[in-house]
């Protein structure tokens, strides 16, 4: 009915229907063109204003310019926020508290706070800790922690770690439990707990079978490396109790890297029995800490069917007395796998009499072993700077 009425009106005015539709289309096109054009013109004038006012010596103008610039550049916004935070923590600063900073209760504010915290120390850091842990900002943090925005929660947790706000430790643990399927939350949460040195909470979390680690092995290694508490004690507890094999492996590697030689007896069982990757890490660690009791097991590992194991054994044996192991290492130098030969050659370069060693290698009649040995010796000389 309505359609007929429109048709009647068009006919009454003496127009063709196509003409009417075309004019409507043209009006729409014109409107869209004007809208897009206006958008471009406004953008142009904003940029022009920004450019022309760059050297104007007026505080108000510069403040406006700064605010405008923050719309275009994330870096400018972060810089502005950081400058304001410095004003708060600096005794001579013009700002007294965090609530004086416009936009501090935003994601960008959280990031700027965490980054500034890493640059501060002493009284300035204490002031920032006090401000962030205070009632006003604390309320904002609490609101975010009670919310559902995981990205914002991750930023809050990062800030808690950076500022060492220990009273929030239970909240961090709760968030790890709540977001147990989110790798980012696990990463930030564990990182924060390590920064806070929260040994009891870390051990409890790692023991829990319902929390499967979503983090890669290297990420875990890096997280544990920044632990602020007693790392040796943490390793001792986790190597026997962690439910996740990655975490146990991380402890094993840390023991080797940190040289906790009195924890060797906790590592040895993992060399004898377990997953191949755990056995490989154990072999490496036991070599690094020069654990004598592991020596027979390491020698036995030289004939392991897995080349990865033989390669690590070749390195581990290099730590023990080279004269005692020369036979085994030369056998590994003649291995069919390139990497085993390479690692054995690296271990053999520690020999004092390299000429006698080369003769022994040549006696094996294995061309590849001799080539590898020569390469390892040349490389060792290069590393020492003797080649130049």
């Amino acid at each position: 009915m309505r359609h007929n009425t429109a048709d009647q009106l068009i006919r009454a005015a003496g127009w063709r229907r196509e003409t009417v539709y075309l004019s409507i289309l043209q009006s729409l096109l014109g409107g869209l063109t004007i809208a897009l054009g206006a958008l471009l013109v406004v953008g142009f004038f904003l940029l022009l204003m920004l450019h022309l006012t760059r050297s104007v010596d007026n505080r108000k103008v510069q403040k406006m310019r700064e605010q405008l610039l923050c719309l275009i550049s994330g870096a400018a916004e972060a810089k502005r926020m950081k400058n304001h935070i410095y004003e708060v923590v600096n005794p001579d600063g013009k700002l007294d508290q965090l609530s004086d900073i416009h936009g501090i209760c935003t994601a960008r504010g959280l990031i700027a706070m965490a980054e500034t915290a890493e640059e501060l120390s002493g009284a300035s850091l204490e002031k920032l800790q006090k401000e962030a842990g205070g009632e006003w900002y604390g309320e904002y943090l609490r609101r975010l922690l009670d919310g559902v925005d995981e990205e914002a929660i991750a930023l809050v947790i990062k800030l808690i770690g950076a500022l060492q706000l220990k009273n929030y430790t239970p909240d961090v643990v709760t968030q790890i439990y709540c977001c147990r399927t989110t790798a980012q939350m696990q990463h930030v949460g564990m990182l924060t707990l390590c920064m806070l040195g929260a040994e009891r909470d870390i051990v409890a979390l790692c023991r829990d079978h319902t929390i499967a680690s979503l983090l890669s092995f290297r990420t875990l290694e890096e997280i544990f490396s920044i632990y602020t508490g007693d790392l040796k004690k943490l390793c001792r507890k986790l190597i026997t109790s962690a439910s996740d094999p990655y975490i146990r492996r991380t402890c094993i590697k840390t023991i080797g890297e940190q040289g906790y030689d009195d924890l060797g007896d906790l590592v040895l069982p993992h060399l004898i029995q377990g997953h191949i990757n755990t056995r490989i890490d154990s072999a490496r660690t036991l070599g690094q800490i020069h654990f004598e009791m592991a020596y027979p097991h390491l020698v036995a590992g030289a004939s392991d069917p897995r080349w990865e194991m033989r390669a690590v054994i070749a390195t581990a044996l290099g730590v023990f007395d080279e004269r005692e192991n020369e036979e085994t290492l030369i056998k590994l130098l003649c291995d069919r796998e390139w990497w085993v030969r390479y690692r054995a050659a690296e271990s053999l370069t520690k020999a004092t009499d390299t000429r006698a060693l080369m003769e022994r290698v040549e006696q094996t009649g294995d061309r590849f072993a001799a080539e590898m040995m020569r390469f390892a010796l040349d490389q060792a000389a290069l590393m020492k700077g003797e080649a130049a």
Binding site: L40, L69, I72, A75, K158, Q184, T219, R374
Partner: protein
């Protein structure tokens, strides 16, 4: 029947049919414009998320970490005749704990070879290696007495893929990253790229999107000539609409000749870089996709949107066109060679459609509407508005891409440079963009 009479009979039919065709093109223009703006919006959201997640986990912590995966950079410089020192210096000055740089060069190119020997005190080395991938024999291996991370291979190899395979054979580390001679990396390039492998153990490939410029820190843009600025904006437009936009919805095909990192084990399993492929990296990625999907293994291959590498700009428009044509040819070759995988990986074919056929539709639309306007099939106002809308959509898209890049990745905002780019984004639609569109169609 003569030509005049044929024309006389055809013109009325054309005039009757042209308006409908014009409206069809208008709908397509509108559709394409909206889709591109939506893709930019999607890119913006994802980019914000990416930047925030990097901030919250603090990847910079890994800069001096022992737990970062070491990388083998491979520079296939077999066809380079000029000095390589500037690039080698750039690659040896990256902020990364453990990496090696393998340069595959041809000693017959005297200048390039002499620059390496003189600049880095090369020493011949008897390095045994396992020839896992197919490549021409390596004449000799050299190590630098000045920097132990530098390994130089003398090879008479003619193919880039063969040179890369030779580099993979001699590499010591679990991540392989081909770097092409016209690329310059930012100091944190390796850190950002390799962090993706560390944070996700299923990651087999990380692609990057080279920006155009001659400064590694991206802050020297003011010195860039107009043509280089135009190439820079064209690159950003492609990144934030086609490539990053599609990547966000699970579709991603890397540009050829850009910086990327592969998991070495995945490269070896897939047979390495192919001699027959025009774009060896993109081709290898599709083969890795194919293999992983066939074996039903969990894996991840993605694009790192950060500005971590810069490609030197072409000096002349002819060079720009040639490079665009080469890019199109390489994409065609990659998809043709991996038809099976391309059909499995949604978006490989679609990327080609968007970058090859949309320009055709745009130009055809403009030609048809102008013809219709001249013949009087549509009013001249309609014709003008159609063309204006095309220009405005293009301008808004470029301006948004430039602003997005500025917001996310620029460390220092230069308003003068931004203003120049803003104006250029509009003016470009009448010159550079038309030429590049024609080039894409012609290729």
């Amino acid at each position: 029947m003569n030509l005049a009479s044929i024309l006389q009979s055809v013109v009325p039919i054309l005039r009757a049919g042209l308006p409908a065709v014009c409206y069809g093109f208008l709908a397509l223009l509108f559709f394409a414009g909206i889709v591109r703006l939506l893709l930019i919006a999607k890119s913006t959201v994802q980019l914000k998320k990416h930047v925030r997640s990097l901030r919250s986990v603090d990847y910079r912590r890994f800069q001096d970490s022992e737990h970062m995966m070491p990388v083998s950079l491979i520079l296939p410089a077999i066809n380079e005749t000029g000095s390589l020192n500037e690039q080698v210096e750039n690659l040896l000055s990256l902020d990364f704990k453990q990496y090696e740089l393998i340069v595959v060069a041809n000693s017959e190119h005297a200048d390039a070879w002499a620059s390496l020997c003189k600049g880095y005190s090369l020493l011949p080395f008897h390095q045994p290696y396992k020839k896992t991938l197919k490549s021409a024999p390596i004449e000799s291996v050299y190590r630098s007495a000045k920097d132990v991370r530098l390994v130089v291979l003398d090879s008479k190899e003619k193919s880039r893929a063969g040179a890369l395979n030779a580099g993979v054979n001699i590499s010591s580390y679990p991540i392989i990253a081909p770097v092409y001679p016209d690329l310059r990396l930012t100091k944190d390039a390796l850190l950002k790229t390799v962090y993706a492998f560390v944070s996700d153990s299923a990651c087999v490939f990380i692609g990057t999107f080279a920006r155009i410029g001659d400064a590694t820190d991206g802050e020297d843009g003011k010195k860039m000539p107009v043509l280089a600025q135009e190439q820079y904006m064209e690159r950003l437009r492609t990144l934030y609409t086609n490539r990053a936009g599609y990547e966000n919805i699970g579709l991603y095909l890397p540009l050829s000749g850009t910086f990327a990192a592969f998991l070495k084990s995945a490269v070896l399993e897939s047979g390495g870089f192919s001699y027959e492929a025009a774009a060896e990296s993109a081709d290898l990625l599709l083969r890795i996709h194919g293999r992983m999907r066939k074996d039903k293994r969990a894996y991840c291959a993605r694009l790192l949107p950060d500005a971590v590498c810069y490609q030197l700009p072409q000096q002349k428009m002819r060079g720009v066109c040639a490079s665009l044509r080469r890019g199109q040819r390489e994409m065609r070759n990659t998809i043709r060679r991996n038809r099976g995988t391309a059909s499995m990986v949604p978006g490989a074919g679609y990327t080609r459609l968007a970058e090859k056929f949309w320009p055709l539709v745009e130009i055809l639309g403009a030609v048809v509407v102008i013809a219709a306007g001249v013949l009087g099939a549509v009013p001249l106002l309609f014709m003008a508005l159609y063309l204006l809308l095309g220009v405005l959509f293009g301008s808004v898209q470029t301006v948004l891409a430039v602003l997005l890049e500025e917001y996310a990745f620029q460390r220092q905002t230069d308003t003068g440079l931004l203003l120049r780019r803003y104006l250029l984004a509009i003016v470009d639609n009448f010159g550079f963009r038309v030429l590049t569109t024609f080039t894409k169609i012609y290729s």
